[in-house]
Symmetry: C2
Subunit: 653 residues, 2 copies
């Protein structure tokens, strides 16, 4: 009966409480003694108490003579005192032991040696001083840095590079540190292939490479634990059962079953834990990561980790990770991320009743941090690798209004975000190339680009959510690019228009062009399916312009209403057979070995407000596109011209 109570969905807080309550002694886990010099990054399990003082003797802190200070009392310019070297005063170098009976050092610069004998070897020479020394001047006293028996670091202290210095100087050559918790990771699922298998055999449709094991293993390492990976287990409950039983009876401190943590008929994580031990949490009101499972087998924590990559990461960071930190004697909240205030670039909807973890890109624009939402799909690991931060929307909140200030947890450091050029607008492959090339001009400066079409880019400039817009908007009236649109949509804005490349636009068709498509005309054939770009995209404007020239209408083209957001996804649609043709650039066709029928050469420009133009990061960008290296790499892509690359004009509209 009691068990069923746990099987309701739990909030993150409630589920976490249950988890910690089940392992109240987690922080009492083992310790081991190691050499201090091997302890970088480890956590002290016992306080480190000095065994030696540092310095362990009274040491001269200057070159000069050591003396008993009271012999110098009364010395002045008028009445200098004369000291006899070897009797009253002793030549000494920095770091050397103060002779018995001395308690001060007078610097060599302040001495007047009367007998001309060599420093350091003289006995009986006379030295004149003309000011008194006070006791302990220029002396590093025994224990000045560390006193033996003193606490150097309390338990729980994390050993840094500096710490090693204090431990060694204090004579603490061995330390008791927390053992690293050891995790066994068991990937399950009939669709899974190891990366080695994929490398040797390639993938068939339906195959998925197991990447979760490696991401979770790396997270374990980052949380101070160690890990081992079990071989992939297909959906066979008995084998999963054996693996979990064996792991919980051996030296592992925690077990992850990846995949099958949901409530379907082939989801074996729950029945496995149920039959070997007890399930305490099944389902948490968070997204991604809802099907999280937590239980106990042979007194060891066992997690069912959902198989979607982002869900797996959230499950780790909200549950398994904090428990590992506690096992390591650390604050379970130790890995909590820094938060900053951000402004959503557009309204964000959210589901009531679950806590959402929205991945966002963040740009520092005009002193505000603008957050642009990445796709929500838990299956897309790139929504995490491209994210600068995470906005958490609590269960009772239904959404966030545009420009409502909210907190974002930072994934990338703030300094890196400040050094990022935010480019919004039309997509072009040369932007990827630019992102790769820019770090050769100045490491640290990065590019973050979002693909919303040319018009979306101009709107982003207007809404002050980006630094640069990528645009190739044709004016059908005069054949010019971008200028008339800027005048119309960015009134009053001083912007620079910089040519990035000239590029060919055309029809992307299957390799070998099986349908023998020669131009836009052929799209009228009803057996052909077209894939379009979204409204506002420069390519769409171009298509519509060309169709008009040809006297065609959208109704003439089957699939005109199917929209994709980038050149590459148009190419993928053709490659996969979803469409027979799409409008796009040569580079996208070439990248996927598709055929390309040129239709037009157009100008792809960068639109940059004047107030950003002179900032360092934009100058680094402009410098980069003018390099021969960049132009050469653009040329190698094919379908581009770089004759006007870098040419800039200032528009004041």
């Amino acid at each position: 009966m009691k068990r069923n109570v746990y099987l309701n969905m739990k909030s993150i807080e409630a589920a976490r409480q249950i988890m910690f309550d089940q392992f109240p002694g987690a922080d009492e886990s083992g310790a081991e003694d190691i050499d201090s010099v091997d302890a970088l990054g480890r956590i002290l399990a016992e306080p480190a108490v000095a065994a030696l003082s540092a310095p362990n003797y009274h040491a001269a802190a200057m070159d000069g003579i050591a003396l008993d200070a009271k012999l110098s009392f009364g010395a002045s310019d008028d009445e200098p005192k004369i000291l006899v070297s070897g009797k009253d005063a002793f030549w000494i170098n920095t770091g050397h032991v103060m002779p018995e009976g001395t308690n001060a050092v007078i610097m060599i610069e302040h001495l007047n040696v009367i007998d001309s004998v060599k420093n350091g070897s003289s006995n009986g020479s006379s030295i004149e001083i003309n000011s008194p020394a006070f006791p302990w001047q220029n002396v590093r006293k025994m224990g000045e840095d560390i006193v033996a028996t003193e606490l150097i670091f309390p338990r729980g202290h994390k050993i840094t590079s500096y710490s090693l210095g204090a431990l060694i100087a204090g004579g603490v050559f061995r330390v008791s540190v927390k053992k690293k918790p050891k995790v066994l990771i068991i990937p399950t699922g009939s669709e899974l292939k190891s990366w080695q298998y994929a490398n040797d055999n390639g993938l068939k449709p339906g195959d998925v490479i197991d990447s979760n094991s490696w991401v979770l293993g790396a997270l374990c390492v980052e949380y101070g634990a160690s890990f081992e990976s079990h071989a992939i287990i297909h959906d066979e409950i008995e084998i999963i059962m054996d693996a979990v039983r064996e792991a919980t009876l051996s030296s592992y401190d925690m077990v992850f079953i990846i995949g099958g943590s949901s409530a379907g008929s082939k989801d074996y994580a729950k029945p496995v834990i149920d039959s070997l031990g007890e399930v305490f949490v099944h389902g948490v009101t968070m997204m991604p990561g809802k099907p999280l499972l937590f239980g106990k087998v042979n007194e060891k924590p066992v997690f069912g980790i959902p198989g979607y990559p982002v869900s797996a990461v959230v499950a780790f960071e909200q549950f398994a990770g904090p428990l590992l930190l506690k096992m390591h004697g650390l604050n379970p909240a130790a890995k909590q991320r820094e938060t900053i205030d951000v402004v959503p670039a557009r309204k964000i909807a959210s589901k009531l009743g679950v806590e959402e973890f929205l991945r966002v890109k963040i740009g520092s624009v005009d002193g505000r941090f603008m957050a642009s939402q990445l796709p929500r799909g838990a299956g897309s690991i790139t929504t995490l690798t491209e994210a600068d931060g995470i906005i958490r929307i609590p269960p009772h909140v239904e959404g966030i209004a545009e420009k409502e200030i909210v907190k974002a947890e930072l994934i990338r450091p703030l300094a890196a975000i400040e050094d990022t050029v935010v480019i919004t607008g039309s997509h072009d492959n040369t932007l990827d190339l630019l992102a790769d090339q820019i770090c050769r001009t100045r490491p640290g400066v990065t590019i973050s680009s979002s693909h919303v079409g040319s018009m979306g880019g101009l709107m982003a400039i207007r809404k002050k959510t980006c630094h640069v817009a990528g645009s190739h908007l044709l004016d059908p009236e005069d054949g010019s690019y971008n200028i008339s649109y800027i005048k119309k949509y960015l009134p009053g804005e001083r912007v620079w228009l910089v040519n990035l490349v000239m590029r060919e636009q055309g029809l992307i068709v299957a390799g070998g062009n099986p349908e023998k498509i020669k131009g836009l005309d052929d799209l009228k054939k009803k057996e052909l399916v077209f894939i379009n770009r979204q409204g506002g995209a420069g390519t769409r404007v171009l298509l519509d312009y060309k169709l008009k020239e040809l006297g065609m209408t959208p109704a003439d083209i089957r699939g005109y209403e199917n929209e994709e957001y980038t050149h590459m996804s148009v190419a993928v649609a053709v490659l996969s057979g979803r469409a027979d043709a799409g409008m796009g650039i040569y580079a996208a066709a070439k990248a996927l070995s598709l055929d390309f029928i040129p239709v037009f050469t157009e100008s792809y420009d960068l639109v940059i407000p004047d107030r950003f133009f002179h900032t360092e990061k934009i100058q680094v960008l402009l410098e980069t596109i003018k390099t021969n290296d960049f132009k050469k790499r653009v040329g190698e892509l094919g379908g581009y011209g770089t004759e006007t690359t870098g040419e800039a004009i200032l528009l004041e509209s």
Copy 2:
């Protein structure tokens, strides 16, 4: 001739420019191919470009039926459509391959199966749907996450745990990463002993344990490099010369000579580099770290690193470290620390003409970050291990006024500083014990204590620079502790007075009490030297009170004017023979195996302003001192009573 120009002292900026100019190609250093799964934390030397799409097929994103969406067009509650399973519609589970000819999934919850056949195995059963599906609904399209040929990460990207997921999912199983630069560390100096030697043989006066090698090695690791340590070389120029020559001709990318970088007669780093190669920088206007030396031997950078531990760290972080980062393809400024605004608790003097690196403790008090200066000595590694931050005072600035807002670079994370209880005032060994014990109550909460005497503690409360003052101020009028002082010096302040311990004060004398000292009376003997505590210390107030009772004056006691700031340093003064007796607590005497003659039992209290009393970290502290564990450990120190520990009264003065 040209060389001498370089030998003038240089500013940090100028010296750094010279260093980078000497190695313009540092960032072009080697790369190596490794398995992606081993690449956590490494830096990409080449862009990572997707070899596979993820997903690599159109996949169902829900359990249900796959169909061609157009078969569902027009379906409604009034006019449902009937699909034949196996012909029009196909049962499918999440993640599975979409059958040929289908482009949408309808969730199982929205279906009405007319013939009662088992899911998944039925052929020819009828399924009723009553709303249309739109194309690609509930389908994860091929390439939705990653499109083959797309840039996954640009060169210079640092591989995180998340990155591993994108690399593996994108079929990038091997990556080209920057080689780790390899550093040879050569410790030099006749006074140096290895820690292993010290462990086996102990130390004689004049011996110094080599800790710098380990600190610098750990710093190399933290900067992404690897290191090896040479055996200690005594002050023998030929051997140092051989070691540097050999290292620069082998596979090392950089060499450190620790010690002997100054201009004295036994400072061999400069002559060694001079004769093997060229010296470019000798002396930088920074403190600590002034005697930094930089040169080139066999086209490899060689640094002369000053031997004082803090100087060595500054030299690394300002010079060798940034060059290592550049060699690793990173921004040389990548390790620059976050800065915050801090308020110095008192005026800070500074030397014109050098850039000073002042180590400070930082406390978050009343919404301001108060910075208290630690000792300046470059020989004290604890000034770094205890520091929360560093205030850099530029060469042209002579000092910082009290309460002048300045920037501090953070050594500890801001969150840790926020969680720190700042205790200022009298020192007691039970504070160390409390610092060790508190993390058992709640990991993350830490204590930072500064020792300025009881009166200094009350002044810190008044100046709002601490949360808690440790105080044992006796009122000679009524024999009470602290209360009358609080009324006098903290008027209008609501504070809590919490007893930490009762403790014995007495005379600390040499082991075996060779001078047969029985009490304060004996201090009148002129052959005895006393060591005193500083004015304002509770122990000093107690001494003066007792002397008055005995009818004695300061003039009766030789050494009354010699002051120390803690009980332990008084004990060290006695241990080292600098003094015959000092006033202090039993624990300090016991710790150094000295004798103790009890004089008095006094109350050692914590003074806590009411506005802090109810904060979480103070409550954690109060909870900790009430635990039996804490009281037991205090008892074990000896000389303490804990009967009233934790008793609190509120004073409104």
